[in-house]
Amino acid sequence: MSYDFWIILTGALVASSCALLGCFLILRKMAMIGDAISHAVLPGIVIAFLVSGSRASVPMLIGAAVIGVITTFLIELVSKKAKMQNDAAIGLVFTFLFAVGIILLTVFADKMDLDADCVLHGEILFVPLDLFSTGTFIDFFPRKVLILCCVFWVVILALLFGYKGFVITTFDPFYAVSVGISAAIWHYVLMTLVSIVTVVSFESVGAILVVAFLVVPAATAYLMTDNLKYMLLISVGVGVLSSILGYVIATALDSSIPGAMTVALGGIFLIVFLAAPKYGVFGKRFFMKKKSDEKLKNANV
């Protein structure tokens, strides 16, 4: 398998895992919490690195899950207990955690092969070079691709088994509570998944661009359908398509791959935003016109 394929596959896996979770994030009006978590995992990553002494995946994932839950918890604490308005609470908490992460990175710079650049850009270029050395057929796959695959399946399984819970707590939390489904538990499950996906993706696409993969495919799909299942499928499609397109753009311009993937995402979003059949800016006009034409026709008959 070629070098290009692995990179595109990495992008597609990141995009798909993010897109699936992103659908629930935007439906819950929590897009900015996704942004907050993607910044806030930084200290978790650094601390996990310092404790375990390596970039091994298990401590990282634990660190991420813990810090993700802490972030949501802190935001809730500040906005509920100290009565700060929600948007400011989000801004305050994630900038603080990010600052702590950057400072830790600087202090322990000589102890770790992780720097601020990696946080921003990710190292998707090196993904195909980082192989296992177990002597079995596993060596054939890049390490990151395998990990991303696992996480992707975790997300899929979580959504399959928890579909009902996620859906009910998303659309009607009060009803959920009345039939004995804890909105809080599903909230924290979602946050944990988001943090895990963020941490795994961050090494390949960079912390901040994870936000793009979380929000943009989901938002694009949201403009195209009213059916949640279709929305999930479309968002994955958009994610995969943009990682292919992004890779093409990046090689053509010799530029940052995750950056180009985001640009592709933005482009797809723009097209859908303008032309989506029912909810696009121009599509809406067309749709309305067709509808009123039909009405007129029916009236004449």
Partner: protein, 436 residues
Amino acid sequence: MKELLEFLSLSNANVRFVVLGVVLLGASTAVVGCFTFLRKKSLVGDAVAHSVLPGICLAFIFTQVKNPLVLLLGAFISGWLSILSIDIINKKSRLKADTAIAIVLSVFFGIGIMLLGYIQSTGNAAQAGVDRFLFGQAAALVGNDVLVLGIVCVILMLSVWLLFKEFKILSFDAEFAQSLGFPVRTIEFILSTLTVLAIAVGIQAVGVVMMAAMLITPAAAARYWTNKLSVMILLAAIFGSLSGLFGSYISYTAPKMPTGPWIIIAITFIAFISMSFAPERGFYAKWYRKKQKVKSTMDENLLKVFFHLGESQNDLNQSRTLTELQERRYFSENLMRASLKRLARKSLVQPNNSEWQLSEKGIVEAKRIAKLHRLWEMYMSTFLKIPPDHVHEGAESLEHFFTPQLEAMLEEELNFPQTDPHDKPIPYNKTAANEL
């Protein structure tokens, strides 16, 4: 200590530039941030901060020089475009505001990262330093940068001072402003422009992510201390510049340390102190008030027990043992002892051997509380038509929240009834002597 003095004396020209720049920046972004905070648009500030990156990169690609003014212009334009895009997505589609912000933030930033990658791959010698916009490096501020910073800060402060009334009314009640004939769109435009300007100028000192905190956190912290906008702005400016000072001091003593994150640590610390200890709105003050209320409620309930015992035996002056009180209404012994001690301190009760007795003052107070309870029961059954067997619960909690004015109004409204819905006499203090 010596380092601190050296730092504060500003004898080193470099230090002077950095300190001046960061303090000015901290103050002026905090001032603008107050308005974005009050308009609940704090996260738009975050989006703008991320979105200036492509503008900076494009300005650099076109001019190939690192002129602070040119870069500022590029940052300004793309920052403005991002605000516009958020607005359009918000208005023209069914996506919610937060999604719109997240989309614009990440896509603009992605474009920026792509352009940055392109600049780095061209290997231009002057490119070193364009990426310092990401994390900021206040220590690298030179004379020119500080001059631009200073000019922008003066513009910001002056505009806020001149348009204070307009900004204020826009932040608190935009619809009212519109109805008064204020040009709301224009004021909004100016305010957004100032916000973008503040962010664009601050990026190179503190970096993209930290910029959001410079905007949000000082305002959020200041809000805890006051309800007055002018005081809030002043406080936010002080908080902003203090943390700027702290951040640049850390960078001065440890040159490898990035300035931005330390500024954020300082300002978050200030915010934490504010939300914990500010009088009125602070967490601790609220907790303390609640605790006091629990105590005074307990005291009032105990006085009422004295009254009820006295009423049933027609002798309010009788001393009571703890068990006697507990039999009437159960409180744990510890709670009762603590409460009696407080009441004794206010000389409402007095100890009598191992028993307790209401004082003259205590009788008056106990009657007042019993009266409030019964009056309130009366009110609920007369005006709210609640059946008499349901009124006790409500009265039990509300009797502790009456002010003297409310008390007088209630008496008047009910026209001084003699009995409550359960036909118990209402103990007015004026007639106390005659009745008992």
